[in-house]
Symmetry: C2
Subunit: 260 residues, 2 copies
Amino acid sequence: MSLVLKAVENIPLIQKDDDIADIICKNASDIADKDIIVIASTIVSKSLGLTFREADIIPSAEAERIAASNGKDPRFVQAILDESIEVFTETPFMLVRNKNGHVCINAGIDSSNVGGDLLLKLPEKPDNYAESIGKSIEQKTGKKISVIITDTNGRSFKDGQTNVAIGLYNIKPIRQWIGEEDLYGKVLEISEEAVVDEIAGAANLVMGEGGDGVPVVIVRGLDFYTNEKVSIKEMYRDQEKDLVLQGLLKLKEKKIKNDE
Amino acid sequence: MSLVLKAVENIPLIQKDDDIADIICKNASDIADKDIIVIASTIVSKSLGLTFREADIIPSAEAERIAASNGKDPRFVQAILDESIEVFTETPFMLVRNKNGHVCINAGIDSSNVGGDLLLKLPEKPDNYAESIGKSIEQKTGKKISVIITDTNGRSFKDGQTNVAIGLYNIKPIRQWIGEEDLYGKVLEISEEAVVDEIAGAANLVMGEGGDGVPVVIVRGLDFYTNEKVSIKEMYRDQEKDLVLQGLLKLKEKKIKNDE
C-alpha cells in the first residue's frame, strides 16, 4: 500500500470573496475519486474576510485583568475572549475552547501570512466550509472527494506544533479498530486512530509555513471516503472526562485566589 | 512537491534476536538517499525480547494502593511503575513519564500484537536502537537514510490516538521556521514544526493496527536528512514549563489528600 501527498502549486494569495473550490480545481493537475483535499484554514478565513485590526478593538475590564497577568495587549486578549467559550489558562499563554469546541492557544488568532498589521480569526463553523468547498469541488470535477480544513497547534508534554484537523467533509475523524483482530487473532480491546489529525500533519510536511507556503495538499491512496454527515466535534472529548482540562482549571482557580 | 509513503510488505512476525535492519533491506523494494524509514516500536521491542508475563510480577504496596484506585491488576500497575520515573495520574488511567522521558499512558506497555498472555515493553533507549538499525541499513544499502521509531499515543482534549516518534536517527525532531519570512515578507515570530511526529502519524495511516498491520513504512520526498547527532529528548518539554503536567500533579495531590 502506498500513500501520495501532492502540493497544489500556484495557489495565489487569497482575497476576500475568492472562490477557493474554483481556485483549487484550476490549479490541481487532477483530482480523483476518494482524494482527500487538505486546506489550511488561513485561506478559508481570508476568503471569508476574517481579518481585523487590533487597533479597532475596545478591551473589557476582564481583558485588561488578563492582559496585566500575561503581558499581552488587552485588545488582543479581548479578541481571544470574543472567539472563546471557556478560558483554561490565562498566563503565560491563553489556552481556550473556541466557539466550535476546539481547544487551542489564542483561539487560533494568527498574525502570520496575513500582511500588514492585520490579524486573522479561524472560521467559526469549519465543518460547514469544508462541506461547501467540498461540494463545489465535487460538482466541478464529478469526483467523490473528502475535505479536511486544518490549523497548526501546540500540544502537551512536547515542544513543537503539528497541523490538526478543525473541519471535515466526507471523512470520519476516527478509524475504529475496536473489535478487530490483531496479528495473533486476539481481539483489539480499544484502538481509535485519529486519522484526520494524522492526515493534517502529513499534509503540513508538504505545506511549509514560510514564504514558500502551500495551502492546499491532495492526499491519495486512503480508503476513507464516506457520504455520511460527519463533524470534527465527534472527536472533541467531553470536558468532564478530560483530566488535563480539570487540572488546568484547578491551577487557574488557585492562581486567581492567590492574586486576590 | 510530493511525498510518498510506502509500506514494506511481507515483514514476518518478529522474534527475539531477529535482525530488523536485515529484514527491512530484504523486503523493501528499494531504499534511496534521504529516505526516512519509520519503524513501529513493537517490532523493535520484540527483537529485543522485551516481552514478559504479568503472572511473573510481584506487586509492591504502592502498586496495590494504585490498583485499588484504578481497578487494574496490581501486577500490571507494578510493571508500569517499573518502567516509569514519574506518575502524573493514577486513575482512571496511569499517565507517566517513562525512563526515556516520554510521557504516555501505561508507560507504553501493550498487549496487542504480542500473542498469548504476553505483554510488551517499549525499548528503553529508542534513539540508540534507531541509530543501530539505521547504521546497519546504511551499511547494507550504501544509502544515507534516517530512522524514526514510533509508538501510538492518546492526547489531550481529543479522542483517538496518533502515532508519534519515540526514537530518532539522522533526523531532527523539530523544523524551525523562526526568523524565516512569511508570504508577505514578515518575519515569523515563532514556529517550530514537530516534523517527526507528523511523519510518524503519516506512516500510521499506512501501517494499520489490525491483523493486516505493517510495521515498517518508507517515506520519500522530504529533505530532512542530517548526520548530526540527534535525540527525541530535544523535543520533550521541561516539566517546569509544562502547565498541563503541573495541573495534573495538583489534581493528584488533592485526590491523595481526599483519600487519606
